[in-house]
């Protein structure tokens, strides 16, 4: 906690997380209940509560962060975003009615335009969150052009997709460089020193573990399938396509079984390795952050990240047991209501309502468990694993920057690309 004795700031130090897990649980559970009652409108209040909690309980060099954003700002940003998106959606709706090339391309164009807009929103939302982050009486802020960022992000995403993910580390590094180059704490400029190539080398074994089964499958297809015969079978038309495909390629069935098996292996690998990759990239990312002379080093342990997921699994299982105990009588009630001819439409509406509420409770429950275990742990682990040096710079930072609007947050919310 804050010490009254020290006049200057110690040159190096760590970050402490002071938040109590129980308080966070309470906040999330109340939020989930209110989300349901308000059909989601409460999300602006919940997001603000969560950020206030996380920021206020993160202590850097003896002083905690402060989040000053308000729910009404988020609500207003969302409404502005809706106002902007209505004509965009209406335009795509009309374009889709066109029979010519415009109509055929409208789907692709809509996808591309919304992709760019989503990345634009990501950058603007980051600006909003930074300018609402106060530390020692000064705010963070962000310069740079959100459109330029969006263009850069889309190009990188395309590269990542074309290279089956191999370009992803370079994408992270490039985008993070752009973000941090434009990030300031007061007049202290940020930068990013992480190297994409390093992350690439570290991540490569994991990439192979996931991609190899898929590559084997593609190889098997090329090797075994007689493409000419298959093409003939498909173009002949008629009802018995399946039997003709089988006739043209007797080995196809076994290749398909192999493909499914390999897809299963790849998915399992990806799920098992995901926490390790998350730990790797979090460590890499936070070690690359710079503010003036302030440098950071992360010693995040991979097994701690796995621990967070194990805790999630346990809590989720517990939640499932509770759901079963409550859910079975509810399902019986639904069956009785829907099957009763005399209950009529009223009974049916009640049954549908119960099913719907049950579904929403289940989905919200799992999301709450995930936020209270994995997300909170990642925040806490990520922060507490940091060692900061050059902190004496904190004694002489000057104020600059003004708060920005919450439009980016609103767009991100409407387009479903929001972060914390």
């Amino acid at each position: 906690m804050t010490s009254l004795e020290a006049q200057g700031t110690a040159a190096s130090g760590g970050i402490r997380f002071l938040g109590a897990r129980r308080a966070y649980w309470r906040l999330l559970m109340r939020g989930a209940a209110l989300l349901m009652v308000t059909l989601g409108i409460y999300r602006f209040w919940l997001a603000t509560d969560v950020r206030r909690f996380l920021w206020a309980n993160t202590e850097v060099a003896g002083e905690t962060l402060e989040y000053t954003g308000t729910p009404l700002e988020l609500l207003l940003g969302f409404l502005i975003a809706v106002a902007i998106l209505i004509p965009v959606y209406a335009g795509f709706f009309l374009a889709a009615l066109d029979l010519g090339t415009i109509g055929q391309l409208s789907g692709v164009m809509a996808f591309a335009a919304l992709g760019v807009l989503g990345q634009y929103a990501v950058y603007r939302a980051r600006r909003y969150r930074l300018t609402r982050t106060i530390y020692r009486g000064l705010r963070f802020h962000q310069s740079g052009s959100a459109w330029r960022y969006a263009l850069r992000a889309i190009l990188w995403w395309s590269a990542t997709a074309l290279t089956c993910g191999l370009a992803y580390p370079f994408q992270l590094a490039s985008l993070e460089r752009y973000k941090m180059r434009n990030t300031y704490y007061g007049d202290l400029a940020g930068s990013f020193a992480g190297s994409g190539f390093r992350l690439f080398l570290r991540g490569l074994p994991m990439w192979f573990a996931v991609i190899a089964p898929l590559a084997l499958t593609v190889g098997a297809f090329i090797d075994v399938v007689d493409w000419n015969a298959l093409g003939d079978a498909l173009s002949a038309g008629g009802d018995d396509v399946m039997s003709r495909i089988e006739g043209s390629n007797p080995a196809l069935a076994s290749v398909l079984v192999f493909a499914m098996l390999m897809a299963g292996v790849a998915v399992t690998m990806a799920a098992l390795l995901y926490p390790a990759f998350q730990a790797l990239s979090l460590r890499w990312w936070s070690s690359g952050l710079r503010f003036g002379d302030i440098e950071m080093r992360s010693n995040l342990r991979t097994r701690h990240v796995y621990g967070a997921y194990v805790r999630f699994l346990w809590t989720a299982i517990l939640f499932c047991i509770v759901l079963t105990i409550v859910g079975v009588p509810a399902l019986l009630a639904v069956g009785a209501l829907a099957g009763n001819e005399r209950a009529g439409a009223g009974g049916e509406i009640a049954a549908t309502g119960i099913l719907l509420v049950g579904y929403v409770i289940t989905a919200l429950g799992f999301s709450t468990v995930y936020r209270a275990t994995v997300l909170l742990s990642l925040w806490q682990l990520g922060m507490e694993s940091l060692q900061l040096s050059g902190l004496s710079a904190l004694d002489r930072v000057n104020t600059t920057g003004t708060p920005s609007s919450a439009l980016g947050e609103g767009l991100a919310d409407a387009l479903n690309v929001g972060g914390y």
């Binding site: 906690m1 066109d98 705010r139 008629g238 409407a414």
Partner: protein
């Protein structure tokens, strides 16, 4: 308790000032270690800010530099809380705000549902006739392409439409004859385009812009030409009411209302889909009942036998499964038949086709 320790940030630099805070009559006086006055905040300009539980963090309302004062001593913090109305340590103000959020969101939900149930169909009803027919035709062509993509399997190697081969021409002529008689009675603003298509289901559909597809399964199942005519009259009802266009407008309106304004929370997607399905089924049930009424009326006007539509429905309409009423897009068959029979006129009727023409129509897909 009028003195206490605090940590002060002046909002201009990040330097930390250990301060002595004095509770004066009208406000806080913040002085440095050396006794120099750093700031003076009137009580009504002080606000409490987000901080860890053990810390009271204060700021000055409306001040451009983000001045901050942190108090660690809980008793001294309580003394400040008492004097300043914008310091909300107990969370009373927050609770009040939360209650008003809940109240207004419930009001918003109710108004949304009312608009979805009454407003959206009413708007579609008023808007559909205003759409220029060029746009409606375009919409119809777009829908037509999709419908053909789904229905036209081309598996038998024959054309999707019947009535094109030489042996099918008499059937086509019979179809044209009965459609012409209906069309004259209906006096539609735009010409109809009707086809028999190679599908085995007993059904018929109307697309925006006046296209009617009669499935050959319907003709196979009909006992006489009037039963086919009855169903076509029902479909002309959809064309006259512009139901296809309305359905597109309604779907768009509902997607917008629910998808955009609500639904962006976990599990919300299911609520949106369920609400849309139930509401669209309810719109559709109304449209079907109206098309039945129109069809019966049109049969009366064309001196046809309106009861033929009812007897055809009795053959093709399935029984209602229990538990499916609110998801049904047609009203219950029994109720439809009763309603149509009530509307059927008592005047003598004349058949639409003679026996030879009816045989020709039955062979419209023979080629």
């Amino acid at each position: 308790m009028t003195f206490g320790a605090g940590i002060y940030f002046d909002g201009r630099t990040s330097a930390r000032h250990d301060a002595t805070v004095t509770l004066a009559a009208s406000g806080l006086q913040i002085a440095g270690r050396d006794g120099r006055l750093l700031a003076e905040w009137p009580y009504d300009e002080i606000e409490g800010l987000a901080a860890p539980d053990a810390v009271l963090r204060l700021g000055r309302r409306g001040s451009a530099p983000l001045e901050r004062l942190e108090i660690l001593d809980p008793q001294f913090a309580a003394a400040i809380d008492v004097r300043s109305s914008y310091v909300d340590r107990t969370g009373t103000q927050q609770r009040r705000q939360r209650a008003s959020v809940i109240g207004w969101s419930v009001a918003a939900t109710v108004s949304l549902l009312l608009v979805a149930y009454f407003g959206v169909p009413a708007i579609a009803e008023r808007l559909a006739p205003l759409l220029p027919s060029v746009l409606e035709r375009k919409l119809g062509d777009a829908v037509n392409m999709q419908v053909r993509g789904i229905l036209d399997t081309r598996s038998a190697g024959a054309a999707f439409e019947c009535g094109t081969a030489d042996s099918e021409k008499p059937g086509r002529a019979a179809l044209d004859k009965l459609v012409r008689r209906l069309e004259t009675a209906a006096a539609l603003p735009a010409p109809l385009r009707s086809f028999v298509v190679r599908r085995t289901e007993a059904n018929a559909i109307a697309l925006p812009g006046g296209q009617v597809y009669v499935f050959r399964g319907l003709i196979d199942k009909a006992d006489n030409a009037d039963e086919v005519v009855g169903v076509i009259a029902h479909e002309i009802g959809h064309v006259a009411h512009r139901d296809g266009t309305k359905a597109v407008l309604q779907a768009g309106g509902l997607s917008f209302l629910f998808g955009m304004l609500l639904g962006d929370f976990v599990g919300g997607g299911a609520v949106v889909v369920a609400a849309k399905t139930v509401l669209q089924s309810s719109y559709s049930r109304e449209a079907e009942a109206a098309a039945d009424a129109y069809g019966a009326e049109l049969m009366n006007k064309a001196h046809g036998n309106a009861r033929a539509l009812a007897s055809m429905l009795a053959k093709i309409g399935g029984a209602t499964e229990p538990g499916m009423k609110i998801l049904l897009d047609h009203p219950e068959t029994k109720a439809r038949i009763a309603a149509i029979n009530r509307m059927a006129g008592a005047r003598p009727t004349s058949p639409f086709l003679d026996a030879g023409e009816w045989t020709a129509l039955k062979r419209i897909c023979a080629g």
